[in-house]
């Protein structure tokens, strides 16, 4: 990568071994990634074959497991659907590796923004705390979260499969309406950009409905059908929702949820999957369980027989 004062291959090699990069290196890498992402549209068009990955949430060893199962970069093309950080123990290592891979293989790795790629959410759910603990200051968190503002919002595979982190928005009928969003900012609480990263499907409904919590939407079967018709797509691929089976297919195979964090939070006992789109556009779920290293490295959650005994009151 021209103009980058670090050796990306060396960084990637270190990160595969779960070694942290120095703060100035992170700063340089984030700056360069911003330049690269700035040139991407809000709707990036790519071609299969590509392996699509859902939420990872800092479960670094499970990300390595995905590469072992699905192939390492650049032998396999990857599309990540967001939520790289928070909850898991290794958010810094996870996002560092993904950003380095994006810089090293910009056309073979694509990163979409999830609702956790934001300043607000990462302060509550672990990434901020992890950065402060591992680096002694919040600087690294600032570098990463500033870079998050540049991540794209959606990807279309083979002009046929629409990929987004959360789901659809009542403000968006055609993908042209996504292209005009000013995305280079913190994720707002309302509007189409918020909907794309937050909304969930509701299989019992046809239209949009308001969430009981007073903000946000769910979208139903007719919404999905209309969106696919208007844009001449056949499928919506999204992440954002935990599923015990690792994936869920709804609306007569018009929408898939891909979840890629097995044994989420090291205690949910769920499976995970990645979705492979082959060169003909056919979709295959590759289901997997948690990486063996999780048990050795998790510090907060222990196997049942080793739960730390506590004199709680």
């Amino acid at each position: 990568m021209p103009g980058l004062p670090v050796d990306l291959d060396a960084c990637i090699e270190r990160l595969y071994k779960r070694e942290l990069l120095a703060e100035p290196v992170i700063e340089a890498i984030c700056a360069k990634t911003k330049e690269l992402l700035m040139r991407e549209s809000n709707v990036v068009h790519i071609l299969s074959p590509v392996t699509v990955v859902g939420d990872i949430h800092g479960q670094f060893y499970d990300l390595l497991e995905i590469f072992r199962i699905g192939g390492f970069c650049p032998d396999t093309n990857y599309l990540f659907l967001g939520d790289y950080v928070d909850r898991g123990l290794f958010s810094v290592e996870t996002i560092s590796l993904l950003v380095c891979l994006k810089l090293r293989y910009p056309n073979r790795v694509h990163l979409i923004r999830g609702n956790h790629e934001s300043r607000g959410v990462t302060q509550s759910y672990g990434f901020y705390t992890e950065c402060a603990r591992k680096y002694g200051s919040a600087n690294v968190w600032h570098h990463f979260t500033d870079m998050f503002d540049f991540l794209t919002l959606s990807v279309v595979i083979n002009n046929d499969i629409f990929c987004v982190h959360g789901g659809l928005s009542p403000s968006i009928h055609s993908i042209d309406q996504i292209k005009i969003i000013d995305r280079f900012r913190e994720i707002p609480h309302e509007g189409p950009m918020a909907d794309l990263v937050w909304s969930d499907p509701d299989a019992d409904r046809d239209e949009f409905a308001l969430s009981p919590r007073g903000a946000g939407y769910t979208f139903g079967a007719q919404v999905v059908k209309k969106f696919l018709e208007i844009n001449d797509f056949s499928h919506i691929l999204r992440a954002h929702q935990l599923c015990q089976e690792g994936f869920q297919v709804l609306y007569d195979d018009r929408l898939s949820t891909v979840w890629s964090a097995p044994n989420y939070c090291y205690r949910c006992g769920n499976l995970a999957s990645v979705l492979e789109v082959d060169d003909l556009g056919a979709r295959f779920f590759n289901v997997f369980d948690q990486a063996p290293e999780n048990a050795e490295n998790r510090i907060d959650q222990q196997p049942a027989e080793k739960v730390p005994v506590e004199y709680f009151l």
Binding site: S124, E190, E310
Partner: protein, 348 residues
């Protein structure tokens, strides 16, 4: 267009699923003219030692791909999936039996069944098969016709969630709700339908599920903290999650149950913790105390609550640690004022 394939070798008749790891894979045969090298799809168990992964060597230790894989539907996969974590631990001390069970979160079919029973959507992480129970026997006192009576108090997610307000009358709204509603009114006036209103913070005043022949009555007695502060040997300890939700990234809601059994007594703590960012903090604790020799069973229920603003002020000195403290119910309990305590004693 969609296919899920699991390797036949792993699902064959001799497979016992002793280990929860499964690898499903999907690409039945190498694709001709594949623009990048064929990726390795292989069945591995979690017990296999893993090497750190320089990409070039990552596949060298893998077994060769098995022959033609069998097609299985998601339902079939579910049916043969082993239960992970542990299927139950139990201890009997002083005539009291404590059982805990920790299983994976519910699958799609189980969630659907629970939604039907409850009438509301369960939390994001729903451990509907988890349970903590305490069972005992009250000996007959010798009166004619008197028989030994067994009693049981149990904690499970379904019963806890059944006590969540389903009418929407206790409903809290996220901090930015007013602004959000105003902004959207102009744009999407057609969307009026609200997903059935209910207390989406999953606040519950659950005190456990008690068998019919036991009931609790108010008492002046207190749980003897001095006895519980002693470092008596702990014969059995467990921490069991019942449910957890991130409130769509507006905070957290979590119900978990801890239990410790000592030679002469036991303590159970079912703690509900809820933080709604920029709105409120809430803790609801149920403690069950059993003194084996006396056959004494006490249950204490406490509510703690404060506004986000007040708590934030109290936490100011902790600076960088504040987000971590706000995630930890055990630390937060110190900062939330007690709203009320009820102590009850079990009678048979």
């Amino acid at each position: 267009m969609m296919a899920i394939t699991f390797y036949a070798s792993h699902f064959g008749p001799t497979s016992t699923f002793a280990h929860p790891a499964i690898q499903a894979t999907t690409r039945p045969a190498p694709v001709a003219n594949h623009p990048h090298p064929q990726t390795v799809h292989t069945y591995r168990t979690n017990k296999m030692s893993s090497t750190s992964p320089p990409p070039s060597t990552s596949s060298s230790s893998m077994p060769p791909p098995p022959p033609a894989p069998a097609q299985l539907t998601a339902k079939e996969v579910q049916a043969v999936m082993p239960s992970a974590v542990d299927a139950g631990r139990t201890i009997t001390v002083g005539g009291i039996t404590v059982t805990t069970r920790k299983l994976p979160i519910l699958n799609a079919a189980e969630i659907e069944a629970m939604t039907e029973k409850l009438g509301i959507a369960p939390p994001e992480m729903i451990f509907g098969n988890n349970v903590v129970s305490i069972k005992g026997v009250a000996k007959a006192d010798g009166a004619p016709g008197e028989k030994d009576k067994t009693w049981k108090i149990e904690f499970n997610a379904l019963d806890a969630l059944d006590l969540v307000d389903k009418t929407g009358s206790d409903m809290l709204k996220v901090a930015y709700s007013a602004a959000w509603q105003k902004q959207r009114e102009n744009m999407h006036e057609g969307i009026k339908e609200v997903v059935k209103p209910f207390d989406w913070t999953y606040s519950t005043h659950y005190r456990g599920t008690v068998t019919e022949n036991a009931r609790f009555e108010p008492t002046q007695q207190q749980i003897p903290l001095d006895k519980l502060r002693r470092q008596d040997p702990i014969l059995f300890f467990d921490d069991v999650m019942l449910y957890e939700d991130e409130l769509a990234d507006n905070g957290m809601s979590i119900l978990s149950v801890k239990v410790r059994v000592m030679p002469a007594r036991l303590l159970l703590l079912a703690r509900f913790y809820m933080r709604l960012d920029d709105v409120v903090f809430r803790i609801r604790d149920t403690r069950v105390f059993v003194e084996f020799a006396e056959g004494l069973v006490l249950r204490e229920y406490q509510e703690r609550e404060d506004s986000y603003e007040n708590v934030k002020k109290k936490l100011m000195p902790y600076r960088e640690d504040v987000p971590a403290i706000m995630r930890d119910a055990n630390q937060m309990v110190e900062f939330l004022p007690l709203q009320g305590t009820v102590v009850e004693k079990m009678v048979l």
